[in-house]
């Protein structure tokens, strides 16, 4: 234990403040409250409103909280970047909850509960400095996501997507846990600081690789991204907007922190990450070019963006990477927020319309404000200044270039230019295409009611026809407004944000 103390105190002054855990605790409470909402004769969307308020309070709490809080004997450490990440996650969650409260169709209580649990897991995961806590937090974040993907029980695609997501994730997380157990066995302790002291042996190397592969799967980085397109295409854009952003954000933080603290021991960490980065960029871009479904397109765009982040992480994992580790951490966190905010924005705009690109047709005529928000989110994803995407990419590429990955940065620039092609198709759909048929309900929602098999077993009580509560335009506006604010301000205020992160 002494070695842990010396290492962590070298850069983290001890300070006991369990108050920081208020946010996750409140969220778990909200989850229980929303599960039993119908017992308390509370209207369906009230849960989402409460969750939104809690998330907002949690975000402020995290933002204004003290720095360098160490809990549970250095297992959970809220340094500057962890607090920023937690605030970011809570802001995203708050936006999602506001949107659900405003325009969630059908029963939203359970979705709120699941989301609240997942967020609390994510808030813990960003600060984990111990293998067990990390695994627990990651599982807590991703399990509700499996269920959220399959949320519409009466639609086979949703369930099929959820099952695939579940089985593949469990398989890869078992890889991860197996690797973690092996590392624990060899190093004698589960704390990252101890793992750094691990001597390099073929067995420990294999364990580390398995651990990283598990994390790759969580982030849907290439060779292990197969679940993402099917899982997202199966379910509604509303649930995908959560499942595609918050777990991924937590996964990014974990892998960045892990590489920063542990990788020095493993010389091959950099090449492994580079393989993952290049594979993700290449596979994600090519596959996305021919997509006709918004959710699938954003799934592949997610793969590409994770590729960019892995590139920076790989840069900081190199032999002389230590000098760049802080900037790498900072730029990857900033870029992760920029990317997730934009993706959630696009998906929330698409939730009102429907999953496929053709559903977005004529959006500029129906909902001009939403169409312009969509355009801004897409431009941020492309990386057009002065939006967040550009500054995120600028810092990412400059750090990677400075750390010596010039070749891969050139690949990344080419991928950015190619990505402009398929992102523009979103704008093209929203602004130029004319909606073919005037059927208000898109094909997904039509399916919701159509394939309710008549002879469904009694206990699953055919879903009461979802009394469509009126979507309050103000709520949708607020949700998109929050995300828009993040996209616009992150770029311009990147100066103070970086000072906060370091």
């Amino acid at each position: 234990m002494s070695t842990i103390a010396t290492i962590t105190t070298s850069f983290l002054p001890p300070f006991n403040g369990y108050a920081v855990l208020v946010a996750p605790a409140l969220l778990i409470l909200v989850a229980f409250f929303s599960l039993f909402a119908d017992k308390l004769h509370v209207p369906d969307r009230a849960a989402a409103v409460v969750a939104a308020v809690v998330a907002a309070v949690g975000a402020c709490w995290m933002a204004l909280g003290a720095d360098n809080v160490i809990l549970f004997g250095y297992q959970l450490v809220y340094t500057g970047d962890a607090r920023f990440a937690a605030t970011a996650i809570l802001v995203l969650a708050c936006a999602w909850f506001v949107w659900t409260a405003a325009a969630g169709t059908g029963r939203t209580r359970e979705a709120t509960a699941l989301a609240a649990l997942s967020v609390s897991g994510a808030v813990l995961a960003v600060a984990a400095l111990d293998l067990i806590v990390m695994l627990l937090a990651l599982e807590l974040t991703s399990m509700p996501a499996y269920v959220l993907i399959g949320y519409r029980r009466y639609r086979i695609q949703g369930l099929e997507g959820a099952l695939k997501y579940f089985l593949l994730s469990v398989l890869t997380s078992l890889f991860m846990i197996y690797g973690a157990s092996m590392l624990f066995g060899l190093a004698g302790s589960t704390h990252f600081a101890e793992l750094r002291a691990l001597t390099q042996s073929p067995l420990s190397l294999l364990a580390f690789v398995l651990l990283i592969i598990g994390l790759f799967a969580k982030l849907s980085a290439a060779p292990f991204h197969w679940w993402a397109p099917d899982a997202y295409a199966g379910s509604e854009p509303w649930t995908v907007s959560f499942a595609a952003t918050v777990p991924k954000f937590a996964g990014i933080l974990v892998i960045v922190r892990l590489i920063q603290l542990v990788s020095t021991g493993f010389s091959l960490a950099q090449s492994l990450l580079l393989i993952g980065a290049v594979a993700s960029m290449v596979v994600g871009t090519f596959a996305a070019l021919t997509q006709s479904d918004t959710r699938r397109l954003l799934a592949y765009s997610g793969v590409v963006n994770v590729g960019y982040i892995l590139l920076v992480v790989a840069a900081s994992a190199g032999p002389d990477g230590a000098t760049y580790s802080t900037i790498a951490l900072v730029s990857s966190v900033v870029y992760a927020l920029a990317y997730t905010a934009a993706t959630m924005g696009v998906l929330l705009v698409a939730s009102g319309e429907g999953g496929r690109l053709s559903d977005l047709a004529g959006l500029s005529k129906r909902r001009p404000a939403a169409a312009w928000c969509l355009a801004l989110f897409v431009l941020s994803l492309i990386g057009v200044p002065p939006l967040a995407g550009f500054f995120g990419k600028l810092e990412l590429f400059m750090t990677a270039w400075a750390a010596g990955q010039q070749v891969f940065v050139v690949i990344a620039t080419v991928v950015t230019v190619v990505s402009a092609f398929y992102y523009m198709r979103l704008i093209k759909a929203a602004f130029f295409d004319e909606p073919e048929r005037q059927v208000a309900a898109s094909e997904d929602s039509a399916e919701d009611t159509a394939d309710v098999a008549p002879d469904v077993a009694a206990d699953s009580a055919a879903p009461e026809t979802p009394t469509p509560a009126p979507t309050s335009r103000v709520g949708v506006g607020v949700a998109l407004g929050i995300l828009l604010a993040v996209t616009l301000l992150l770029g311009v205020l990147s100066g103070p944000i970086i000072t906060w992160l370091t």
Partner: protein, 669 residues
């Protein structure tokens, strides 16, 4: 020859060009009706300008050499890289002479057009543009820097464009104006290059600065600037090969042609050459070129004038040939001869044009064949035309004889005997076509019964010009001395030769045209020459086939290049993509049923992709990259088959591959 003191303060001479300019500025914004009403404003302005120029002439009287200004004003136009660039106006003897000449002719033409244009509803605009033109010409004459000269040179070009195209409703004037402006601008390209070269050489455009440093210019620079200036003069003074625009310019109103295409603008080229003589004389080759061009143009103009049936075309070609004379005079280095001929020519050619205007107005046609026997119906016009025509031909007491004789003597003294022979031949032809027009228009069977004499407003200016043509001849000596050159009466032998030349032409003309004998037999004998002449020696044909038609073709071709090749490369992508997706679907059927584990399949897909990629590169379609990525994208989507088992195998396969690769790397590391 004592020189007048240089410190005369002649600031008011600048008013001469400014008055018509003010008239233009006043008239421009007016509505059509108001502008028609105050047509007199420009005339008043010109009268005052004439007064001032005569006063200047008196003030400056004994005159001095060309290029030594009595008074000069300069101000700074701009600083270029810290180096100041100035523009200036200078009053010297040549300028004053030209001021007087231009003002006289200008006033006569304006008074004439009062009547001639009285029933045209846009006459106000006509006077407005005339005023601008006169202002530009007067300014041009007074300019002391090459840049000012060039600027006003182009303003005159625009005015001629507007005047030729005055009746823009019909086709001919529109085409003629554009042709005139473009051909003159072709000349201006030379002026541009010359200006750039001169500025590069001596860093300024002022004449005295240029003349001071011209001695130590590099020969290449001297050649370029002189060739450029000559090319510009050729363009402006309608010399060969850029003379095609002047005959077509007759489509404009006659008074306009009288002022611009006889008296003033076309001589601008000659005037500029006289101004830049000190530079040109240093370059013997340039002088030789000028001489050759002058003589050839004179011959070209004279020959074609004989074959014209349109009265105004005859005068146009006659102007071209007389300009050839002036250019030849400069070619042999004598500025005074050229200027003297320029002045006399201005008077009698303006006279001829205005009289032609009266005749056309009376007979309502420009075709000489429909005219005849006008002498009886229009006596005064006939007398006045005779004075002008005979002065053109070079009959003894008239001014034409003296100025032409001056040129003959100068060419003779220069020792270029071939040039003298050419000049003589032109003299013969000139008197030939003068006599021809004289007989066909005024004598023979009278076919215009209702032809009536011109009104007073027409005849007054014409008679003034006629008087001047009579008087000018006797001013040879004082004029020469005014320009600072020791003039003397033409020697007896030279006078005899030129009269002989004139009489020979006249006799030839009398025999052919006096007795209305049919000229068909003559036409068969010289049929080749006649058909060539009809086509103006194929000059226009050369323009069309070598310049205008290829230019149209080139612009179409380049636009297609632009639209097809450069654009095609960019939006060729869409067409390519459709073709290749069909190819992929074909391959698609075979891959799926092959149950392959992830790693092996990935490898084969890459090799096939590489082989397919080579075939596209070999075709050289670089932009296929966009399509390639879509094709690979489509191929990758094939892997995403939705079968869970496949995904699991892919994951495990990938993990195995990665571990294998890392282990290999570890061993070699």
């Amino acid at each position: 020859m004592e020189h007048v003191a240089q410190n005369l303060n002649l600031w008011w001479v600048l008013l001469v060009p400014l008055l018509p300019a003010a008239a233009f500025v006043v008239l421009l914004p007016m509505s059509r009706r108001v502008r028609n009403a105050c047509r007199f404003v420009p005339i008043a302005a010109m009268v005052v300008a004439l007064g001032l120029s005569i006063a200047a002439a008196v003030q400056v009287y004994p005159g001095s050499h060309i290029g030594e200004p009595f008074w000069q004003v300069a101000w700074q136009l701009a600083t270029l890289g810290g180096h100041a660039v100035t523009i200036s106006f200078a009053v010297d003897s040549l300028a004053v002479l030209m001021l007087v000449m231009v003002c006289i002719v200008g006033i006569c033409v304006q008074i004439f057009s009062l009547f001639y244009m009285k029933d045209d509803d846009r006459r106000g605009w006509f006077f407005c543009v005339m005023a601008l033109f006169l202002a530009a010409m007067l300014g041009f004459v007074l300019s002391g820097s090459l840049l000012v000269e060039f600027a006003l040179w182009e303003i005159m070009g625009v005015c001629s464009y507007l005047l030729i195209g005055f009746w823009y409703r019909d086709e001919a004037p529109r085409k003629a104006s554009q042709k005139a402006f473009l051909v003159t601008r072709t000349g201006d390209v030379g002026f541009f290059v010359a200006l750039a070269a001169i500025y590069a050489a001596c860093g300024s455009f002022e004449f005295e600065h240029i003349f001071a440093t011209v001695a130590n210019w590099s020969p290449a620079l001297l050649m370029v600037s002189s060739i450029g200036l000559i090319w510009a003069a050729i363009g402006k003074s309608a010399q060969i090969p850029l003379s095609a625009w002047l005959p077509d310019a007759m489509a404009g109103p006659t008074p306009g042609s009288a002022l611009i295409h006889a008296a003033t603008m076309v001589v601008a080229g000659v005037f500029m050459l006289t101004r830049m003589l000190p530079v040109l004389t240093l370059n013997p080759l340039a002088m030789q070129i000028i001489l050759v061009v002058g003589i050839i143009t004179a011959l070209y103009g004279a020959i074609l004038a004989c074959f014209q049936t349109d009265l105004k075309k005859v005068l146009a070609f006659s102007t071209i040939s007389q300009l050839g004379y002036m250019v030849a005079a400069i070619g042999v280095g004598s500025a005074t001869a050229a200027v003297f001929h320029l002045t006399t020519h201005a008077f009698f050619k303006a006279l001829l044009f205005l009289t032609a205007g009266i005749i056309i107005h009376a007979t309502h046609t420009q075709d000489m064949r429909q005219m005849g026997g006008l002498a009886r119906r229009m006596p005064i016009t006939t007398v006045v035309w005779t004075i002008g025509a005979f002065s053109l031909a070079g009959v003894l007491p008239l001014s034409g004889f003296f100025s032409k004789d001056e040129i003959f003597t100068v060419i003779w003294h220069s020792g270029q005997y071939w040039a003298f022979a050419g000049a003589a031949a032109v003299g013969v032809l000139t008197s030939l076509y003068v006599v021809k027009t004289w007989f066909t228009v005024f004598f023979g069977n009278s076919c215009n019964v209702n032809a009536h004499e011109g009104t007073a407003t027409e005849l007054v200016p014409v008679s003034i010009l006629a008087a001047l043509t009579l008087v000018c001849g006797f001013l040879t000596i004082p004029l020469a001395r005014f320009l600072g050159h020791e003039g003397e009466w033409p020697s007896l032998t030279m006078a005899a030769t030129s009269t002989a030349v004139m009489l020979c032409g006249a006799a030839l003309g009398y025999t052919i045209y006096a007795r209305q004998r049919s000229t068909e037999r003559l036409k068969q004998i010289f049929n080749v020459v006649v058909s060539a002449a009809d086509a103006r020696f194929y000059l226009d044909w050369v323009y069309d086939t070598f310049f205008i038609r290829p230019y149209f073709w080139l612009s179409e071709a380049l636009w297609k290049l632009d639209a097809v090749i450069i654009d095609g490369a960019v939006n060729g992508v869409a067409w390519l993509y459709r073709g290749l997706t069909r190819l992929i679907n074909l391959l698609d059927a075979r891959i799926i049923d092959g149950a392959v584990n992830g790693a092996a399949w990935l490898y084969r897909a890459l090799t096939r992709g590489a082989q397919w990629f080579d075939s596209t590169v070999i075709d050289g379609i670089v932009n296929g990259l966009g399509t390639l990525s879509r094709a690979i994208g489509a191929a990758l989507r094939r892997v995403q088959t939705g079968h869970l088992q496949r995904y699991q195998r892919l994951i495990v396969g990938a993990a195995v591959v990665i571990v294998a690769v890392l282990v290999l790397v570890l061993r070699f590391l």
